[in-house]
């Protein structure tokens, strides 16, 4: 009996082992997909492209999300945000023009991650044509245009923030490809951005057929908007006007009506993806942004600077009903200087934490109008420029106190007016510092005073003189290379201001 059981058992074991041992030499990872398995079908290409967009919403490695980086880079060094008791030391150091290379706000990792995703698509997607017969050249070109446009946009943020950055155009897809590259100068990077955008423009679609994709993915209009911004930065005003006109003449965008300030706020900021939006980061209930803890409650890290209401929007003390719809109740809650744009669901009620998915708007139609105005003014068409500015102002019922009323022939007065109008229109949208810097550096830093007088008001009194003199050094307008990058890549040279 016992023997029979033993034989049966052994027999059973042998049979089981025969079947189970088949894969014992298979070294494929169980929890991921290898390159050899990927890049076979058009669905995988689409997945990779969508992955780029996903990386814009939050970094997979838990470093600071992109939108927060753009907020910090675009606002901290400018004059519209001020610190609270909960602001971190690193953030205060940036506000105080006291940045050291160890400051993690200067860590560009998040942006290069997205750039690497773009590079991966650009390197590998063409190979899928041979693998998947249903994948067409047209579809490939469209995906490539999205990847190139996003790569251009990311480099544009980098070059404006760091001045000079390493230009990495090939994917890092294996350990053998870890190479150490030096920084490229700003012109090389900007030329590459223009090249990417031009290549992308030809193949980009005009529409994806639905509103969310049109605002959340790269269309040809998005590319035109980025181009306009790049040309404006490079002082190529004719090209900038041309790029803006492509968006304007499409007749697909407009300013959201401001007759009812509540409806305007709701359509443009609370819901997002409005007729005015061109490219917005699509936060939603599944992927909320990081602004809730940053801007609400008593633990908020930032609040609006007092000058936002006092000087930028101003208050009509005689008739409180007359107000700039972009000011109190939209950009800011004047009673306690809360930055309201990403927090409010109406002018008075705030979002709950799980509702904190206000889109981060990268470009919208008002931006196109004001970029065009800025370029036209530089080209000598002051009146046309002013017409555009007043179109934006009238939509928002801007107060008379903020109307500088510059003569159309006075180029620098019109430029100042446009700069101030941009502060009102794009408050806390991550544009203020870049606007100031662009105007300051125009014609070989002709208007450096813009930055000097700005910083005199933002730093504490006992650091004022230091900050002003630091800003006289052009290199100080750009962030340092993060110390970790310098340690790991000996080819990188630190910005001389931070040595």
């Amino acid at each position: 009996m016992l023997r029979k059981t033993f034989i049966t058992l052994s027999f059973g074991l042998v049979i089981v082992s025969l079947f189970s041992c088949k894969k014992w030499l298979d070294l494929q990872p169980q929890d991921g997909i290898t390159g050899a398995e990927f890049w076979k079908t058009k669905e995988q290409v689409q997945g990779a492209v969508v992955g780029i967009y996903a990386s814009l919403l939050g970094s997979p490695t838990n470093s600071r999300p992109l939108a927060e980086h753009l907020f910090l880079w675009g606002e901290l060094r400018a004059d519209m945000v001020s610190a609270t008791t909960s602001t971190t030391n690193e953030e205060i150091d940036v506000i105080n023009v006291n940045i050291l290379p160890t400051n993690s706000i200067a860590n560009w990792r998040t942006i290069y991650q997205t750039i690497n995703y773009c590079n991966t698509v650009i390197d590998f997607a063409p190979g899928v044509l041979a693998q998947d017969a249903t994948f067409t050249q047209a579809a490939l070109n469209q995906y490539l245009s999205e990847a190139k446009a996003l790569r251009g946009l990311m480099y544009f943020y980098l070059v404006r923030t760091f001045g000079e950055v390493p230009l990495k155009l090939q994917a890092t897809s294996s350990d053998q490809q870890l190479i150490q590259i030096p920084k490229s100068n700003a012109d090389t990077v900007l030329n590459q951005i223009e090249k990417d955008l031009n290549e992308a423009e030809a193949n980009a679609v005009f529409t994806f057929g639905n509103q969310a994709s049109d605002k959340g993915r790269i269309t040809r209009y998005t590319i035109n908007a980025i181009q306009a911004d790049v040309y404006l930065w490079r002082e190529k005003y004719n090209e900038c006007v041309t790029a803006c006109n492509k968006v304007i003449n499409a007749n697909k965008f407009g300013l959201i009506d401001g007759t009812s300030s509540g409806a305007w706020f709701n359509i443009l900021y609370v819901n997002g993806n409005s007729n005015e939006g061109i490219f917005e980061l699509q936060f939603d209930r599944q992927k909320i942004n990081s602004f809730y803890t940053m801007l609400t409650t008593s633990r908020r890290r930032f609040q609006a600077s007092p000058i936002v209401m006092d000087e930028i929007y101003t208050v009509d003390f005689i008739d409180p009903d007359k107000k700039d719809i972009r000011g109190d109740g939209a950009s800011v809650r004047a009673t306690d200087n809360t930055i309201w744009k990403y927090i409010g669901i109406t002018s008075t009620t705030s979002r709950a934490q799980e509702e904190s998915y206000a889109h981060w708007i990268i470009y919208r139609y008002a931006d196109i109008l004001l970029m065009k105005a800025e370029a036209l003014n530089q080209l000598g068409s002051g009146q046309e420029a002013l017409d555009l500015v007043y179109a934006v102002r009238n939509r928002a019922r801007a107060l008379d106190a903020t109307d500088l009323n510059p003569p159309a022939s006075d180029k620098s007065a019109v430029a100042d007016f446009i700069l101030q109008e941009r502060a009102r229109e794009f408050a806390f949208e991550g544009k203020r510092w870049f606007d100031l810097l662009r105007n300051a550096r125009r014609n070989d830093y002709q208007q450096l005073d813009l930055l000097l007088s700005m910083v005199a008001t933002t730093v504490p009194p006992d650091r004022q003189q230091s900050a002003i003199t630091k800003f006289r050094d052009k290199n100080s307008h750009y962030l340092p290379v993060y110390f970790y990058e310098i340690q790991t890549d000996p080819a990188l040279v630190q910005n001389p201001f931070y040595r």
Partner: protein
């Protein structure tokens, strides 16, 4: 044979074993937790930069503690810097004496770790071991900005981390100040009148000594007036100055106005401009006289204040000729003449519901009610930061039949000694001139339970403190004033502060306060134990500071704030 074989085998085996062990390479065992060297070793490791400094350190005898545990910051002059210095003093490095070497090292060394992030416009937070402050700033030359130490040296490389502190490499040797504040003033002919005033009042000697016995007089800051500044005010000579001020004829007398004038220009501490603008007021050497300071754009202003609704234009301290370090203090240059204002005590009728934050809200200010969260008002603070304890700004319209507060507004304080309500509120007053005042707390009586004027119900006595000085009588927000004549009421410590005759519009005398400095002061309301859990609504409308010798119950206030003198 067999035994020989086995012996040979044994020998070989033993040899093999011995050889194996012997040939084993010695494993490099790391015995230290870090290979970061200390300051002195760092200098020795970089002779191309610091060999001269090492020689000086060796000579000073401080090499030992520079290599011991601790936390130091060393400003390390490079070889070129030391060479420049030696050329200047016309010595070779071997001719530097031990004392000189000691002083050089001491002046470049601080006993704490300080990175460039702590460099501000003024002095570093602590003195060097030499005993003088170092000041920092930024210099821009040829478009390149770099840190400047003591206006003498630029930082070449900052924040070099060593085992016992930071090294900042600098391109010049730092030289300590050798003159006292008095000598600095006397060296500059532009200060000749002011200098003579110093001499005549005897304060010149105070400024010419390093007072080591009285630490509060160790450092002195002088805001010196140039001859030009005095001339602008019509004073062209010392005699003119003396004629204008000296009332006793003896400027050495501390009660003489000329002495007071000079003492008012001295602050007993090392206050660089950055320190001056970081605080709003500074006590001068003249007892109880305050210098107000502010920053207007980039200009540093003294006594630029709003007083009784009038703006008084301040005096600028010239940045380029200020912040001059001396052995015993700092010298600044004032661009205009200023002196302590003789102000007679003036009544302050303080509408507590009028503060800058609410004025910025035109839709609210004297138009609607609003709630302010803790921390959103600069000059009013309170104990608890939860929402129910937020400060309520209450508006009551002109046609209100039972709420006749002045200026149409008041603050609603939520006070109680125990439980969930605020234990205290603290206010910063408007500027009050020094003198003796009667303090009146004016409120609209309200009782959470029970009826006003009847015994029982809510009871909420509150203690008033001004600059930590407790007022003799409490104010009870649940009590109304008695219905008596003005004279009788004043005798009992009550007054009718509005034109309305309702008894619940109450002014309560809380005591006499001796305000010693003309400045803004701290007023605190704190529940007394008898209040228990207190009540939610305590309507504070105004606080009056009325000089003891002035009329106490007039003027009264109308709803719109007009003063009525009957």
């Amino acid at each position: 044979m067999k035994s020989i074989l086995s012996t040979i085998t044994a020998v070989f085996l033993t040899l093999a074993v011995v050889l194996t062990f012997g040939s084993c390479k010695k494993v490099a065992i790391v015995t230290s937790t870090t290979d970061v060297v200390n300051i002195y070793d760092y200098l020795k490791q970089h002779p191309d930069q610091y060999s001269s400094l090492v020689k000086i350190v060796d000579k000073s005898g401080y090499a030992g503690f520079l290599n011991a545990y601790g936390s130091y910051t060393l400003f390390a002059p490079t070889n070129d810097a030391v060479q420049l210095y030696l050329t200047e003093i016309n010595k070779t490095i071997d001719q530097v004496t031990e004392d000189e070497a000691k002083n050089i090292v001491k002046f470049h060394l601080m006993e704490d770790t300080i990175t460039t992030a702590a460099f501000k416009d003024g002095k570093l937070p602590l003195v060097t071991m030499y005993g003088q402050y170092l000041i920092t700033s930024i210099t821009n030359s040829g478009g390149v900005s770099s840190f400047n130490v003591n206006r003498q040296a630029l930082v070449v490389t900052g924040n070099i981390l060593t085992g016992n502190g930071f090294i900042h490499s600098i391109d010049h040797v730092l030289k300590p100040a050798s003159k006292s504040v008095a000598q600095l003033i006397s060296d500059n002919p532009a200060f000749s009148i002011f200098k003579q005033a110093l001499v005549e009042t005897g304060l010149y000697d105070t400024l010419n000594t390093i007072n080591l016995t009285n630490p509060s007089r160790r450092w002195l800051t002088v805001l010196a007036e140039t001859n030009q500044a005095l001339a602008d005010s019509g004073i062209t000579s010392y005699n003119a100055l003396k004629a204008r001020y000296s009332n006793t004829g003896n400027p050495r007398n501390p009660l003489d106005s000329l002495y007071i004038y000079v003492a008012y220009h001295i602050i007993p501490d090392a206050r660089y401009l950055a320190d001056i603008v970081s605080a709003t007021s500074h006590l001068s050497l003249q007892p109880l006289e305050v210098l107000a300071s502010s920053l207007d754009g980039e200009r540093v202003l003294i006594n630029d204040i709003d007083f009784n609704g009038v703006h008084e234009i301040g005096v600028e301290l010239q940045r380029s000729t200020s912040d001059i370090s001396a052995t015993n203090g700092v010298l600044h240059t004032a661009l205009a003449h200023f002196s302590p204002k003789v102000r007679l005590p003036t009544a302050v009728y303080w509408d507590v519901a009028d503060f800058p934050e609410v004025r910025k809200l035109p839709a609210i200010f004297r138009r609607a009610s609003f709630t302010f969260a803790a921390g959103s008002i600069a000059d009013i603070t309170w104990e608890k930061s939860d929402a129910p304890n937020d400060l309520r700004y209450n508006f009551s319209p002109l046609n209100s039949t039972n709420f006749h507060v002045a200026f149409l507004d008041n603050l609603i304080l939520r006070l109680g000694a125990t439980g969930a309500r605020n234990f205290w509120y603290q206010f910063r007053t408007p500027i009050i001139v020094k003198g003796k005042y009667k303090v009146w707390v004016c409120y609209r009586t309200q009782k959470g339970s029970g009826s006003i004027g009847q015994p029982g119900g809510s009871f909420n006595p509150v203690q008033v403190t001004i600059n930590n000085q407790v007022m003799s009588r409490p104010v009870t927000f649940t009590d109304q004033r008695p219905n008596l004549s003005d004279g009788e009421m004043e005798a009992l410590g009550w007054k009718r502060y509005t034109v309305r005759t309702e008894q619940y519009m109450t002014g309560k005398f809380v005591g006499i306060v001796d305000i010693t400095t003309t400045d803004r002061h701290l007023l605190r309301l704190q529940s007394l134990a008898a209040a228990g859990t207190g009540q939610d609504v305590n309507n504070l409308d105004m606080i009056h500071f009325i000089p003891v010798d002035q009329h106490q119950y007039l003027p009264r206030f109308d709803r719109d704030g007009t003063k009525v003198f009957q």
